[in-house]
Symmetry: C2
Subunit: 148 residues, 2 copies
């Protein structure tokens, strides 16, 4: 089945989007954010650990601690998050599984897929965590104003 990214990555996107939408110093706690966006805490913690080791998040221990983004949300694209979680080469594998697929020995789908991939990645590079955070916040504000 089709998968744009793993579950861990999905959780990371949801969690970080929520974190970015919160006003304040930008610090968030794993427990809190997982509860808020309704994703499995233990599992997501592992993803946070990986993002920390990858230099994407900074961990702060002890009371009042949590995580902080090392860049501001408007400087982080979806592709950044995806590649941080999945590795830089997620989109690089030959879709027909030809080990030799490449410039010199392209598989029959190489050109087609290259084109599709380019368009896909352009979309993912185009939007930032801040964009996503804004769109959720807007929605909530609309609901609030309309009394829903």
């Amino acid at each position: 089945m089709f998968k744009l990214y793993s579950k861990g990555c999905e959780y990371a996107l949801r969690a970080l989007t929520y974190a970015a939408s919160q006003s304040g110093n930008g610090r968030f706690q794993a427990r809190d954010v997982c509860e808020k966006v309704d994703i499995p805490e233990s599992f997501t913690r592992k993803v946070f650990q990986a993002l920390t080791q990858g230099g994407f998040l900074q961990a702060v221990r002890g009371p009042g601690g949590g995580y902080e983004l090392t860049r501001s949300p408007e400087q982080i694209t979806l592709l950044d998050v995806i590649e941080a979680v999945e590795g830089q080469d997620t989109f690089e594998h030959c879709v027909l599984g030809f080990p030799e697929c490449g410039g010199k020995h392209p598989c029959p789908l190489h050109e087609t897929w290259s084109k599709a991939k380019k368009q896909l990645m352009a979309q993912l590079e185009h939007r930032t965590l801040q964009d996503l955070a804004d769109s959720t916040t807007r929605k909530k504000r609309r609901a609030f104003v309309s009394g829903a």
Copy 2:
């Protein structure tokens, strides 16, 4: 990690592309084609069974038997094969895992993903098994002519 489709679907595409590239009555045997394109036979047989039950292939038992495509290769797009193996709804799931994601309650990524998906599916609908078969045949002929 990113996956355009499952292993089974990858094998189906490779096998059917090979089958389409063969001259003759269009009948092929599981054992033969799996050997030729170097994919696991037992596993791929299951995929063939599914494609048969889905009306995509016709099975012929006994000596000289095998499978036949129920449509000609130039009438079968990559998207056809993918949806036949993976189900019609492979590309329909919300990428952020929001159960409510849809026209009325779009997730923050809904628009972005819809656009990317449309472009992706356009690519997959554009090429047929015959196209893929032709490109592999052309390559072989080139190699033959050039003496490689």
